[in-house]
Symmetry: C2
Subunit: 241 residues, 2 copies
DNA sequence: CCATTTCAAATTGTCAACAATACTGAGTCT
DNA sequence: AGACTCAGTATTGTTGACAATTTGAAATGG
């Protein structure tokens, strides 16, 4: 077949062998770094640095940054460059509001019909979480804790849902980094496990309720009260109110 | 040829709000064209044509197309260019599955707490729909019918929800164009109005149920059975199965 | 000592030329 | 006629250079 071009090898190739680095790969890596709290909010993402880090031309980096900015992971400031996003408290509340609406519905759906493989995957994941918690691997636990939500969406078998949740969870990771009050708040102990129990039992309403409560709990561990001045509110900052 | 860039578009007089054409504007316009069924699936989107259509350099067009492809509105084929997406039946089912999960939850949320202004806006919108239906303005009705869902999400006051729904609705517009069985199926008569009644009454469960039923109804007006060969299944197409 | 100005370096935004690939149509052969 | 080949053309992908802007620090003055 002459044609072709072999569009793109399966996406799975990305981890081990960076044979072909396209913008999707760069996006993935930055996603992961944000989820693991290795890229802090407001971190400058220099084009040059990224170019040499990935061994790639400037165009690829720019395209990746554009995609990331469209998803709210990165903020592009004209003539100043790209920075890891630092969501305001208002944005943070918006994101958690959205999660509180969408994710219980997804949990409900997953609980209603889940394949045995997906269930096994989720169980395995919760085991990893427990392990990380007991080993004191805080960084891993943070990442796994967010990944659970993505994998839950993945368990729906619906790539659209997975994509939506992934974006929200990644932005939430930035929010936790910014407004988290203690290191422990991020880790809701056994709530994931409880939720999984509801799912296994097929109790979709309980799963939805558990997800909702879980998100409330995460938010409670953050300092998102907007009584404090919104970022950039000069009057308050200068004490002129 | 000549090209680029310096055509006589100097409208410096009104710099206030007008035609600053950035990639977001291009994206918006293509979104609208798809929602109004003026851009059919698989339509070629030539870079040159878009450049002169928007009076803009190639870079802007390329960035817009990249964003659109990331959202599934456009498909980029290597060395062949950009085409309006034509979702397969499998993708179409995935999108409607996602909508059936997410949008009832959004409707529920909106019904639980909606501002009077938002309610008025939705009522106004339904009036426009009725008007278009009675005037036989099919094109307008198609657009308005989709826009209702976006405006409903907008009524949540949450830009994240709005964005998610907008993407799904736009892709659904392509799906309807591809797999719609009759012109009338797109227009669910008075279901939007009924849903608005539930919302006004604050009956969130009824609103959610109504939304779910509504989406089922839309899907029923499509031919999405996957018994037919998936696109590109050569064995079946050639009768070798 | 602090504030302001000025200038050089660095970074980003834009464009235009070049390379690579796909498409078109005429021509050729069986 | 139909299928195939093969240039020529058109379109996309990529690179590099240049312009515009910001950044940072040295120099200047109060």
């Amino acid at each position: 077949m002459g044609t072709s071009a072999e569009p793109a090898r399966s996406r799975r190739a990305g981890r081990s062998m960076p044979d072909r680095v396209d913008e999707a790969h760069i996006v993935e890596r930055i996603y992961s770094a944000v989820m693991e709290h290795r890229l802090p909010p407001a971190q400058k993402l220099s084009e040059l640095k990224l170019c040499e880090a990935f061994g790639v031309g400037r165009m690829r980096v720019r395209r990746a940054l554009l995609l990331l900015s469209d998803q709210g992971i990165v903020e592009l400031e004209s003539n100043r460059g790209a920075f890891v996003a630092s969501p305001s408290r208002t944005e943070a509340n918006e994101i958690f509001d959205a999660r509180s609406v969408l994710e219980p519905a997804i949990a409900k759906q997953v609980a209603a019909e889940i394949s045995s493989e997906s269930l096994a995957m989720l169980k395995q994941h919760v085991l990893l979480e427990d392990e990380a918690r007991e080993s004191g691997k805080g960084a891993d636990l943070i990442r796994l804790s967010g990944e659970f939500h993505v994998k839950l969406a993945l368990a729906s078998g619906n790539s659209v849902l997975r994509r939506v949740v992934r974006e929200l969870v990644t932005r939430s990771s930035l929010i936790v980094g910014l407004y988290g009050t203690s290191n422990r708040t991020v880790c809701p102990d056994h709530e994931h496990s409880d939720m999984l129990g509801d799912i296994e039992r097929g109790d979709s309403d309980a799963a939805a309720a558990q997800m909702f409560a879980h998100l409330i709990g995460i938010r409670a561990g953050l300092d998102l009260s907007t009584t404090r001045p919104e970022e950039g509110d000069l009057k308050d900052i200068l004490g002129l109110s």
